[in-house]
């Protein structure tokens, strides 16, 4: 019986490996600074050889997702790599990347006319080992198309991000994770006036072989930082003050 369990565990590990997840030891070093969110993924590491899907219905969501992805890009581009941004009607403004410590000149924008070109370009780009990441804005993607993308990313190590801007057509697909990033009211320390650091509600709606969940994050000094709840913060500040 135990031998059978061993075999089963071994098979599961192999399966994870084939699906693009690294073994634990190798993976640890490659965490990208998402903190406890990364624990939701198998092997407790953000899968790089995978397609991540972001639900961006409103432009506010798209802006928040773009910020969140830029934060991840900062980790992915540390080796001086480049990435591709594919879209049909792009509103993304490259100088926004500076706030996330990503050099905008490292991003190449492909502005195509047709939806099917977006997917074709993305598949070609995912096969190109010279890139660190590929971001594409698409309305629709079916299970076959997403499988093709997944196969392409497994042969290289390019991370794919899909920005889905039409919620009605969210079907099932083979993306490794489905995210939704919503803006949250920012908070400046000591109740200073003005707009604070970008702060988001991060909902991991679906994870292949992992655990979905919700977190609050903000981007402070070039890293993701979990948001400490207000009461706690107040208590801490008071105790800190009197201690």
């Amino acid at each position: 019986m135990e031998a059978k369990l061993d075999i089963l565990e071994k098979l599961r590990a192999d399966l994870r490996l084939w699906e693009g997840y690294k073994p634990l030891e190798a993976a640890r070093a490659e965490r990208i600074g998402l903190g406890e969110i990364e624990d939701a993924f198998p092997q407790k590491v953000f899968p790089r050889k995978a397609i991540h899907e972001f639900i961006t219905v409103e432009p506010e969501h798209a802006a928040a997702s773009a910020g969140f992805i830029a934060g991840i890009l900062k980790a992915l581009l540390t080796q001086g790599g480049a990435c591709l941004w594919i879209s049909m009607s792009r509103t993304f403004f490259p100088p926004a990347l500076i706030a996330f410590n990503v050099a905008p000149e490292r991003v190449i924008f492909i502005d195509v006319k047709e939806e099917k070109e977006v997917l074709w370009v993305m598949e070609q780009a995912l096969k190109c080992g010279g890139l660190a990441a590929v971001i594409a804005e698409v309305k629709e993607i079916n299970i076959i198309q997403s499988r093709r993308l997944q196969l392409a990313t497994e042969s290289s190590k390019v991370t794919g991000f899909l920005l889905r801007n039409d919620p009605k057509k969210l079907g099932s697909n083979t993306c490794a994770a489905r995210w939704k990033i919503s803006p949250l009211p920012s908070m400046l320390e000591d109740e200073l006036p003005g707009v604070g650091f970008p702060r988001w509600q991060v909902d991991l709606l679906r994870v292949r072989n992992g655990n979905p969940g919700s977190w609050k994050l903000e981007w402070v000094e070039d890293t993701f930082r979990p948001v400490v709840e207000k009461e706690e913060a107040v208590v801490r500040r008071i105790t800190g003050h009197y201690a």
């Binding site: 802006a63 830029a70 080796q79 509103t91 050099a103 924008f109 010279g130 949250l184």
Partner: protein, 501 residues
């Protein structure tokens, strides 16, 4: 058709100048080169001092020695003139790619379209002549519409070295017939007949001239006047990068076309590789049996002579060729080439990732050839405050930012191409509105940053400035809004321009 212009350089003392350079002690000495011809020793070249004493080229050496007592004699070196002229011609290739040797003592250069690079023909000719004189050669240069006229002016011209376009006939009139590069026997005959200048016979009937002096005489005259073309034997022939592949049987299949392209690419790449060049643009022409010519072309962002990669780019376009009844001839031409980049550097790339990556360049070529190069954009900072103009398109993958990106003020993740008008209420001067409506949804402004005033560049237009605010509503949605113009100006209005992360 561009106006053709030629320069003729005449090295009057070519051999003796060369020897003086090699043996400076000969500078003050009259000396001649001599060789034995038909059992007779003849002077083959004399320097200016020897000529001053009366020793000329073509004289018997014994006569020369009798006239000039202190004459030094150097044995003639066979073929030395040609060697020297070739070396000088190669040096002159810096001024024009088309240089030809004009034996025994000149160079002819086709300088069409080159002179403006040296600030006009006067400066150009002066530069060449003074550089050659400073090297130690006696040289006379002339510039005209035809090689023949330039030769004539260089050897016999008295007035000016540069003949303006179309002025060669007039400039030749007063010159002796020898200026037309005629055979000595013809010159003798002309002399005997009393034709001492060109104008004395140029008006004569062509048939009469032909009968008396032969067709060569007319050819030389026409070449000097520009009525007849004069082909130059160039030192470095310009070989275009073109390969041809005629087919025994007309080609009609995709596979056949593929093989043809590959064969041609291999030949052309081999040539380019030897020259250290790569193709930037490649044009394939297919000549069909019915006389139609099909043409496809590919572009490459890096000069490339990599057969497999270029073939991949062609593969995407083979289907555009309609073979019809069959293709009997393929030609492949690289009209635009560039210096191939050194492949070595890629070995040192960590992780093999980045803008310099060859895989990325190949990907972008594939994309450019399939969907169009105008769809690919990369941005660099530009020192402008106006948000839409704060970035510019990079011209190539390797172009680096000339200035740094502005970091002092945040910029939104999304920027609308056209700002959208919003309804606002509760406005105070120097403050963002308390409330605004965008696309029918009311937003209560909870937090806001100070205004950032961005002026229009005054040299471009007289529109209004913008006061930008970063605002956050009650749900935490962050926007970039601005007021156009002053608070109390009735033309002022509020707009939403972007979304922050």
């Amino acid at each position: 058709m561009m106006n053709e212009r030629f320069i003729c350089l005449w090295f009057r003392y070519l051999l003796t100048d060369w020897l003086t350079l090699k043996r400076p002690e000969l500078k003050e000495v009259p000396f001649v080169f001599a060789a034995s011809v038909h059992n007779r020793v003849v002077v083959t070249a004399a320097n200016s001092l020897a000529e001053a004493e009366g020793a000329w080229k073509g004289m018997a050496l014994a006569d020369a020695k009798a006239i000039a007592k202190s004459l030094e004699v150097v044995p003639h070196i066979e073929g030395q003139e040609e060697k020297l002229l070739k070396a000088l011609g190669e040096w002159c290739i810096r001024y024009t790619p088309q240089v030809a040797v004009d034996l025994p003592d000149g160079l002819i250069m086709d300088i069409s379209g080159c002179a403006h690079l040296w600030g006009g023909e006067r400066g150009y000719l002066k530069e060449i002549v003074t550089r050659l004189i400073s090297k130690g050669y006696h040289v006379r240069g002339a510039l005209a519409d035809t090689a023949g006229a330039a030769w004539a002016i260089a050897h016999f011209g008295q007035v000016k070295p540069i003949i303006e376009p179309g002025g060669q006939a007039e400039a030749l009139l007063d010159l002796p017939p020898a200026a037309l590069r005629l055979e000595p026997s013809v010159l003798d005959r002309l002399h005997k007949l009393g034709f001492y200048t060109i104008k004395s016979f140029i008006g004569t009937k062509r048939s009469a001239l032909r009968r008396r002096f032969g067709p060569d005489f007319l050819l030389r005259m026409d070449q000097a006047l520009g009525d007849e073309d004069e082909p130059l034997t160039l030192l470095q022939p310009l070989e275009p990068y073109v390969e041809r592949l005629p087919c025994l049987e007309p080609i009609r299949t995709r596979a056949g076309i593929g093989i043809a392209i590959r064969t041609l690419l291999e030949c052309l790449c081999e040539r380019l590789y030897r020259d250290g060049k790569g193709m930037l643009l490649v044009v394939l022409r297919c000549y069909r049996l019915d006389g139609e010519i099909m043409q496809i072309q590919i572009g490459s962002s890096r000069a490339s002579s990599h057969v497999a990669r270029l073939y991949q780019l062609f593969e995407l376009k083979i289907e555009l060729i309609r073979p019809g009844l069959g293709i009997e001839l393929f030609t492949l031409e690289a009209p635009k080439t560039g210096d191939a980049e050194v492949e070595q550097e890629y070995l040192w790339q960590p992780e093999g990732c980045g803008l310099e990556d060859k895989g990325l360049a190949a990907l972008l070529d594939t994309l450019a050839n399939k969907i169009g190069a105008d769809k690919i954009h990369r941005y660099l900072p530009q020192e402008r405050h106006w948000p839409e103009k704060s970035l510019k398109l990079a011209s190539s993958l390797s172009e680096l930012p000339a200035t740094s990106w502005r970091e002092d003020r945040p910029r939104p993740s999304l920027l609308l191409p056209n700002p959208v008008r919003i309804q606002v209420s509760s406005i105070l001067p120097d403050n963002p509105p308390m409330l605004f409506t965008y696309k029918g949804i009311r937003h209560v402004v909870k937090k806001a940053d100070d205004a950032e005033r961005i002026e229009r560049p005054w040299w471009e237009d007289k529109g209004q400035h913008r006061d930008y605010y970063v605002v956050e509503d009650e749900e935490g949605r962050r926007y970039w809004i601005f007021r156009s113009g002053h608070y109390d100006d009735e033309r002022s209005g509020w707009y939403l321009h972007g979304f922050f992360a």
